[in-house]
Amino acid sequence: MPDEQQERPDSSDEWAVAQPVSTTTAGPAGPAGPAFSVDVAASKRALADVDHTPGVAKPDPILKADNVVRTFGGLTAVDVDHLEVQRGVITALIGPNGAGKTTLFNLLTGFDRPDSGDWSFNGRSLNRAPAYKVARMGMVRTFQLTKVLSKLTVIENMRVGATGQRGESLLAALFAPLWRSQETDNTERADGLLARFLLDKKREDFAGSLSGGQRKLLEMARSLMTEPELVMLDEPMAGVNPALKQSLLGHVKSLREEGRTVLFVEHDMDMVRDISDWVVVMAQGRIVAEGPPDAVMADPAVIDAYLGAHHDTELTFEAEEQILAEAEAEIEQEAHSNE
């Protein structure tokens, strides 16, 4: 793997405290998005030269995982030898139900502990880092079953997301002048995000009164309050109506335009094809294929993983007869051998 790419000039701490968002340090030159100086086009181009093999090294990985194994009793839910996620692009993680996608998400974000394995974000090891520290480093996730804070209003949900709040320490909390100005700034930023995600009319409503799709939007908007560099979306389209789906797609793409990296789990193949630059396929806990969407979806290994090996051979009458004859012959043979 290309080690010289690991140490980026604008890695680690800088972006975590970068506020306002435009003052990040210089990354590769190019038309930088407002949040992070990542040349999206260059990142995409770089992927063109990458092999389509599982666990392949990327030119500029933001996230790397090695030998991550998680077993539940006798079941190996996740067994990933090597995985790299390219910076600045949208990577989809697909696979049949039970493939271990969400478990891998939980492991990478500190919500679950693996039996073994190493993984790092921006070159900093995340081994055994608790979930809140992972989030503070700039790697934020959403949940398959949306987690909104029901009895808080939409704007309060947003405010909770802001990191580094002075008023969140016990002593400072008692004295409003210490945190009021920061609160105003955060509220302003939250209002901007609510407008962008078309939730501004719901500002004062309880989050529990939102529809399923609006909750997905709120969760995504709230995660952006942490100024993440890598956004991990767990099934952002699940239970969302088709009209809203289009707008959600736009929102996910806009994250990439801002220079954020997106890794998402999804079952909706149209969405995967539409927005992802790179697709990683998991089956039975392992990564079985990687590549650009079109290449991956034509990959026999992927089709097998999803549909079983014989899904596309239409059975004619003759073929059926033949299979039957073969089976009978087999039974016969076995009967003979037993005699």
Binding site: K133, F143, L149, E156, Q165, E168, S209
Partner: protein
Amino acid sequence: MDWNDLLTGSLQQALGPTAAVYCLAAIGLNIHFGYTGLLNFGQAGFMMIAGYAMVTMSTIWGLSLWLGVLLGIVLTIVFALLLGVPTLRLRADYLAIVTIAAAEIIRQVISAAKFSEDLGGQDGLTGFIGPFREVNPFSEPVGIEGVVMWSANDFWVMVIGWGLVAAACLITWLLMRSPWGRVLKSIREDEDAVRSLGKNVYAYKMQSLIIGGMFGALAGLVVTLRSATVGPSFFATDVTFFAYTVLLIGGAARVLGPVAGAVIFYFLITVLDLFFGQATSGANPIIPASIMNDTQASLMRLIFMGLGLMLLMIFRPQGLFGDRRELAIDAR
């Protein structure tokens, strides 16, 4: 039936020192349960530790009562840490189990005959109240003639007790309008969501447990000062459940919920007590002895309180001052 006696007697209790004690305990539970969603069933344990710490400081070591107050606060923090370290990473029910058990263990240990020389066993300890009563600015009974009247000592405890209630409410209000309070409320709603946003949930739960426990400690101090004695029977498990009742009547997650709850709870329970007491006493009682005698009557208040609590939970689970809008969300 002396209705006037019924009302004045109840008012006396509703504003009296005991109501202030339960109010303080309920304010602590409000921080735990109302705002953070922590189920602390051992508030009586926090009260007991503080009460005994204050008293033993003067009875065993002969030191100042005020130093005892300080020791009580420190010990409740230690107690909260002991309870919280193993359980706050686990599901909410584990804290409930551990707190109720810990409170009982402490009570059994303190009342054990083995320690009765120092801790007074079942009889408890007395003879520490002097310094507190010496600084009492009131020398005459205080109240409104013909309506309510408290002895000078009781009134002094009331001033301290309700003063602490006011301070506790102010602190609660200040904390809960802040980003810190917002994190607590978020934890109550969904821990994992809060964790995913970069907050150290464990640390916040611990802070909540400590602060609520310290309000419980204040309740323990006030009840000790009011009785001028301290004994294990003051801190039985039902104390915690009365405090929860107070909290639920007023409405959880409301700053003034425990205050309203305490006043209403003590008013109602005294009215019921006096009513059944009068109805079964005298030469020709309203309720004949064949139905209920006066010993049985003294239990009626608890039966009615239980019934009332059930009805409250069914028809108005957000308490008297809760927000109906918030409740509508639970249906989902």
